[in-house]
Amino acid sequence: MQIQLGKAQGRLGNWLLVAMAGTALLSLSVIPSPAQAPYKAPKTKDGKPNLNGIWQAMNEANWDIRPHGASQGPVYSLGAAYSVPAGLGVVEGGEIPYKPEAAAKQKQNYTDRLKLDPEIKCYMGGVPRSTYMPYPFQIIQGASNIMIAYEFAGAVRVVNMGAPTKAPADSWMGWSNGKWEGDSLVIDVTSLNDQTWFDRAGNWHSDALHVVERYTPIGPDALQYEATIDDPKVFTRQWKISMPLYRRLEKNAQLLEYKCVEFSEEVLYGHLRKQPLKGDSK
C-alpha cells in the first residue's frame, strides 16, 4: 500500500513539475527554485484565484474512502457492471481513527447499507461526500459569495466570503464560511446534521462534525482538495482526506440535472404501494 501511495504522490509531483514549467516560461523575471515554487493560479478580475468551473473527483472514494480491494457489488443481479472497483483511499494514513463503539457502528452500517446509505435515498450528500460522489459540481465564484452547485440531488451551498456568520440550525449541506489563504479557498463548514455518510461503506459521523476544506489550484485544470475532519463524538482525533479534483474539459461541459427523487421512490415507499410492482428492475 505504501508503494501505491508513493506512486500517487509521484503523480502529484509530475503535475507540479508541469505546472512549474509553465510558470517559469510565463515569468522569466522570476527564477523559482523548482522544488519550492507552487503553481500560481490565474486570477479573476478582482484578483482572487479563479476557481470557476465544473469539477469532479476521479477516484473510488465514494465506495470507501479507505484503501480497499475490488469486491462483489451489493446487488448480485447487476454482476460486474455495478461491483466495487479497488481504490487507494483518500484518508491520509489510510485509517479512520474511530472510537471503538463508532468502529462497530461503521461495520453495522456497512452490513445494512442497502437500507441506510443516504445516497440510495437521494438525500443530499453533505460535506465532504458531495465533493467526491461520481458527479460533477460547479463553482460559481462571486466576490462576496461563492456558489457550489452539485449535480447529485441538486444539492447546493453558498459560501459566505464576508465576515463569518452562524447557522440558525443544522442542515444536510452545513453552513459554509470561506476565506482566501494565498491561492487556497478555505471553507469552514459547521452545523452539518448527522444524517450523511462519508461513503457507501458506512463510514459515518455525528452532528458534532466540523469540516475545514481547502481548494488549492495545482494546475490550470486541477485543484487539490483537502478536508480536515473533526468529530469528537466519533473519532479519537482529527483526520484528513485529500484528493485532486479535475476540471471537466468537454467544450460543452455543463452541470446537468439529477433530480433523483423519482429514482429513490420505489426503494423508499414501494412497500406502501397499492399494487406491488412486478420485478425489481422497473
Binding site: 460559481i140 447546493v156 427523487v261 399494487q275
Partner: protein, 340 residues
C-alpha cells in the same frame, strides 16, 4: 456585497435628505435625488444582480375579474377602495368585501391567505419583506391572466384529473409532483412567488449566473458564455436555460422542459419557450419579467412581471425530500383505510 449595498442605501438616504450634496462620486454633474443610484457592476463590468431577494408578493397571478383591464391601481387608497367595492361572487360574496379591503390595505400582507398559517412560526406577513407594487396582477396586459388552454391541453388536464381522482393514493408516483418534492412548480422558469419561502439568492461567476431558490433548494446554473442550448433529448425539470446580456438586462431563454414540469398546474409541452428578463432597477430591487410561449398548451403567449426586493440574511436549506415524512404517512394511511 453587504457593505456595497449598505453604501448604496446611504447614498439614497442622503440623496432624499439633501439632493444637492448627494452627488455620486463618479458623476461630475449634480444628479436629482432619484438618480443618485448607479448600477453596481461585477469586476467584469456586468450589472451586479447578486444578493438575497424576496419575491413574495400580495399581487395575485391573475387579475380579479372585477378590475377588468385595469393593470395598475392609482395608489394604495385605490387598492383598498377597489377591493371594498368589488361585487360579491360565489360563497365569498359581498360579505367578504371588508376582508378583501382589509387585506388590500395591509401592504405587509398579514391578511394574505396562504395554505399554511406561517405566522405560527413567526414567519407571517409582517416578517416577510415584499416589493411595493400597484400592479393588479402578475400576468400583464389587458387580460391579466394566463390564457385558455388549447383543446389538447384541456383534454390532457381533464385526463390527469380523472386519473388523479382514481389513483391519487396508489403510490408515491401518483402523488402530485410538489408533494413528491421533485419540484414545487414555482421554481420555474418562470420563477413565481410562493405562499412562503419566497426567497432566492443570485451569485454571478465567470460566464455563469447561479440562482438558488429556497423552494425546494432548486438551483439554476445559467450559462452566459454564448453557448447554445443542449440537445433536445435532455429535458430537465427546470428546462435548459441559456442567458445573455442585452444592455444592462440579463435575458434567459429556456427550452427543452421535462414534459411534466408544471406552470400553474399545467405542464409545458415540448414546444415551450420561456424568456426571462432580470433588470436591477435600484439598490434594493430587481425587476423580473417573463414571457411564456407554448402554442401546444396555451392559446397564445403571455407575459408577467414583478419586482424582487433585497433582504438581509441567507437562503436556508429546504431539505424537502429528505424530510418528506408526509409521503410515507399518507400512503400508509391509505393502505390502513383500505383494510377497514
Amino acid at each position: 456585497m453587504r457593505r456595497h449595498l449598505l453604501s448604496s442605501t446611504i447614498v439614497l438616504v442622503a440623496g432624499s435628505l439633501a439632493p444637492l450634496s448627494a452627488q455620486a462620486p463618479v458623476t461630475a454633474k449634480p444628479a436629482p435625488a432619484a438618480k443618485a443610484w448607479t448600477m453596481p457592476r461585477t469586476p467584469d463590468g456586468k450589472p451586479d444582480l447578486q444578493g438575497v431577494y424576496s419575491n413574495a408578493t400580495t399581487v395575485p397571478v391573475a387579475r380579479p375579474a372585477y378590475l377588468g383591464a385595469k393593470e395598475f391601481y392609482t395608489d394604495e387608497a385605490d387598492k383598498v377602495a377597489s377591493a371594498a367595492a368589488a361585487p360579491g361572487r360565489g360563497g365569498r360574496g359581498a360579505a367578504a368585501a371588508p376582508a378583501r379591503a382589509a387585506a388590500a390595505a395591509d401592504p405587509e400582507g398579514a391578511g394574505l391567505a396562504v395554505h399554511y398559517d406561517t405566522s405560527q412560526f413567526g414567519l407571517g406577513g409582517p416578517t416577510v419583506k415584499r416589493a411595493a407594487s400597484l400592479r393588479t396582477s402578475i400576468i400583464t396586459g389587458p387580460e391579466g391572466r394566463v390564457p385558455a388552454l388549447t383543446p389538447e391541453a384541456a383534454k390532457a388536464a381533464a385526463d390527469r384529473r380523472a386519473f388523479q381522482q382514481e389513483h391519487q393514493w396508489d403510490s408515491a408516483q401518483t402523488r402530485p409532483i410538489a408533494e413528491r418534492c421533485i419540484t414545487w412548480g414555482f421554481e420555474g422558469p418562470p420563477m413565481m412567488p410562493v405562499g412562503y419561502n419566497s426567497t432566492l439568492q443570485i451569485v454571478q461567476g465567470q460566464g455563469y449566473v447561479g440562482i438558488v431558490q429556497e423552494m425546494i433548494h432548486d438551483t439554476r446554473v445559467i450559462p452566459t458564455d454564448g453557448r447554445a442550448h443542449g440537445p433536445a433529448s435532455i429535458r430537465p425539470w427546470m428546462g435548459d436555460s441559456v442567458g445573455h446580456w442585452e444592455g444592462d438586462t440579463l435575458v434567459v431563454e429556456t427550452v427543452n422542459f421535462e414534459p411534466r414540469t408544471p406552470f400553474q398546474q399545467n405542464p409545458f409541452s415540448d414546444a415551450a419557450k420561456v424568456t426571462e428578463r432580470f433588470t436591477r432597477v435600484d439598490a434594493d430591487t430587481v425587476q423580473y419579467q417573463f414571457t411564456v410561449d407554448d402554442a401546444k398548451t396555451w392559446v397564445k403567449p403571455f407575459s408577467g412581471e414583478y419586482n424582487m426586493v433585497h433582504i438581509d440574511g441567507a437562503v436556508y436549506e429546504y431539505a424537502c425530500h429528505e424530510g418528506n415524512y408526509g409521503m410515507a404517512n399518507n400512503l400508509s394511511g391509505a393502505r390502513a383505510t383500505e383494510k377497514k
